[in-house]
Symmetry: C2
Amino acid sequence: MRAEALKGHLDGLLLAALEAGPLHGYAVKEALREITDGRIDLPTGTVYPALHRLERAGLISGSWSVVGGRRRRTYALTAAGRTALGGERDSWQEFASAVTAALRARSWPATS
Amino acid sequence: MRAEALKGHLDGLLLAALEAGPLHGYAVKEALREITDGRIDLPTGTVYPALHRLERAGLISGSWSVVGGRRRRTYALTAAGRTALGGERDSWQEFASAVTAALRARSWPATS
DNA sequence: CGTCCCTATATAGCAACGCTACCTATGGAG
DNA sequence: CTCCATAGGTAGCGTTGCTATATAGGGACG
């Protein structure tokens, strides 16, 4: 998977990962990797800043806890986040169908 | 369609538009708009620099002509461009299926 | 005991990308 | 004569995800 392919679609994936219930950052990364059969394996330097961004935007809310001596920041979807997730799903559908149509097109308008 | 959604996928669309035959820049933009029912309507400030980039990369080759008093730069796929288009199609498939799977998932691994 | 790996979080700096805003220019419609 | 569609172009910007690096606890292995 090309590195920059994700641009603009990461937020939706993170929100989706939190839809079923709160997770901490590392668990989000792992969940995403598992659900996509390893196709989306985000570096931690991508996950954490993105989660911070989503929290600043009010789409998720985080809280610290300590489990087994390790500190964790667990995130949960906010109401706004749930709404945003719906929007991400819609816009992904629209985007994906458009790109698929364009890439698949055999006959293009001969506008030249 | 969110503005930044295209990031990393534009090249494939432009290459695909040229697959059926050479087009000039403005025609590429129009063809893309028509084939996607207006869902992908690129600003010219996106199209032209992208075509220059593809030309520099050797994926398309351009040539000037004059039609009706207006100068045009017509682009054609190179062999490398045709190969690249195949790669773009493959990586799009992989990417799209991964994102769709993640966004659709109802039950996420409870790795927390 | 030392080393390594997995878990867990974080940040600085970078490069790429597409967009906005602007500019030039021709030809046709009103 | 003005406006719009066509046709091409660039400078500068903001966002975004990645790389590289740092910290730290716990467990496995020798």
